[in-house]
């Protein structure tokens, strides 16, 4: 594990897309639940317009880390975050900044689809826009349509936009949630096992959506499914017991991992 820090530094300097900038940088991030350290001093850099997968066995801290990137731990009463997270060079955890400033730049999709159950499909997508003061019906219509199209759910719902979101299938609900996150025009999209509650067909659709979205967004995705990581991501980070073990191009992680633990994990020998 001695070489860990070097691996991370190297990423992006000597391989594909080296012209891309870093969109988000996490520096020495630790997360504590009461006194338990769930994420230990993790440093990672995320390139713009790329997909990064966070993999690792359950309880390795990958979801906890992901939630830091959107300050979702602010609501967890016993959680404490240390370190810096920079979005375009600005620290998310700066004292004088309310989290709502950057939450609009960082969208999030959760493990279980969580549409607002009392709202229609349309209102779900428009909810974030209305918060941001968009009132013009034409603009709302346009962005809602656009977002639903980007999330590849438009064709299935375009005739029932007034239907309660709760009546959609699980996969459709999840893509609706992606659309809802996209509607606020974020620059980074965080996804916490977005396909774990879905059947294979819905999963495939979500993965297609992710691949498409990667042309424009910086996507960070937590996944249990290694095939999924291979299919959708450019970079993969392997975490274990709160430590970042290895972070590299997906291809390298899966074909020539440098760390023994990573190697065992990607070969399915534990986890």
């Amino acid at each position: 594990m001695d070489g860990k820090q070097d691996d991370i530094e190297n990423i992006g300097d000597d391989h594909l897309d080296s012209e891309k900038k870093y969109k988000m940088i996490a520096e020495n991030v630790s997360v504590f639940y009461d006194d338990v350290e769930a994420v230990k001093n993790v440093t990672m850099k995320f390139k713009e317009r790329s997909v990064t997968s966070l993999i690792g066995p359950s309880g390795c801290g990958k979801t906890t880390f992901l939630r830091c990137l959107n300050r979702m731990h602010d609501m967890t009463k016993n959680a404490r975050v240390q370190g810096r997270i920079l979005l375009d060079g600005e620290d998310l955890y700066a004292k004088d900044k309310d989290p709502i400033y950057h939450r609009r730049k960082v969208g999030m999709v959760f493990q279980k689809p969580n549409p607002f159950p009392t709202m229609s499909i349309y209102d779900n997508v428009a909810a974030g826009l209305r918060l941001n003061g968009v009132k013009d019906r034409r603009i709302l219509d346009e962005i809602v349509e656009d977002s639903l199209k980007m999330a590849y759910v438009w064709d299935e719902v375009k005739n029932n936009l007034k239907k309660p979101a709760i009546e959609l299938s699980g996969g459709q609900q999840q893509r609706l949630c992606i659309a809802r996150a996209l509607a606020i025009q974020p620059e980074v999209l965080l996804m916490d096992e977005p396909a774990s509650a879905l059947d294979p067909i819905a999963t495939q659709k979500i993965e297609e959506t992710i691949t498409e979205l990667a042309r424009e967004f910086t996507i960070i995705i937590v996944t249990h499914n290694m095939q999924q990581a291979v299919r959708v991501s450019d970079y993969t980070a392997f975490m274990y017991l709160g430590d970042l073990i290895e972070f590299n191009e997906t291809k390298k992680i899966f074909t020539q991992p440098k760390n023994e633990l990573t190697s065992k994990y990607v070969k399915g020998q534990f986890g």
């Binding site: 309310d98 709502i100 826009l129 918060l131 941001n132 003061g133 968009v134 603009i139 424009e216």
Partner: protein
Amino acid sequence: MMSSSQKRAEYRLLFKQNVGGRLVVDKIMMGIVFGCVIAAVIPLGSILIEVFKNGISAISIEFLTQVPGAIGSGEGGIGPAIQGTLIIIGMSSMIGVPIGVMSGIFLAEFGDNRLGRTVRFFNDVFMEFPSIVLGIFAFLVIVLVLGHFSLWAGAFALSLIMFPIVARTTEESLKMVPMTYREAGIALGLKKWVITFRIVLSAAKSGMITGILLSVGRIGGETAPLIMTVLGSSQFFSGVDSPMDALPLRIWRMSLLPYDSAQMQGWGAALVLIIIILAINITVRYYFAKKSKKGNILSKLMGMRKK
């Protein structure tokens, strides 16, 4: 795709850039919300302060033990009222606790059917019956039939307030006893009633005691149903068949008298009553603080009480 990203940049420009306004609204709303808390705590503080301030001067050994003096004389005490309250609590518990516990056993152990659901629902509704109506009922079926006011009538009325609370708390506590306890009993070949009384009830004891204490705290302060049942008296206990005094009744009578001295005695009685009730509440909390993890049930139970 380039056009799409341009489009998104344009969309972003449509957003209200000034988030500060929203944050101000948020601060104001949260301020108002905090104000609500303050608005509720002020009366509580005022009540406690006034009762202690005014009541403490009335308190003396004589006040706690003597019968009331002549009206307006400022002499005598609230001995019979304290005695009456304690006796009524005891008698109501004698009726209310067994019925409540059995009813709770029914709900927890045999209540997973139509009758159970009906009983649970009406138990909850019955808990909210206006207490004065229960007083009228006790008056009609006991006082009117026997022809005189009596402790029994009051205790019966209060037991009607008590048993649904005990039933629900018993049910909740029994349900928290792990199934494995019952299975262990079955494996030993025990009968259901033995399992329930010997194993399950003793495991659920603390929850049930809490429920009983809560209901005692509740009936200790009840006034309305006592007006038409035990009536009030200025004598010490002379049998369960005769009228009796109680602290809430005494407070009521005193507060309506136009004499300062009587009002001071009213405050004194209020102080005694509030100390009894707070003591019960604090005991319950202390008891629960030790048996952690049951906070949820406690809040449920607390929510059940009224007045």
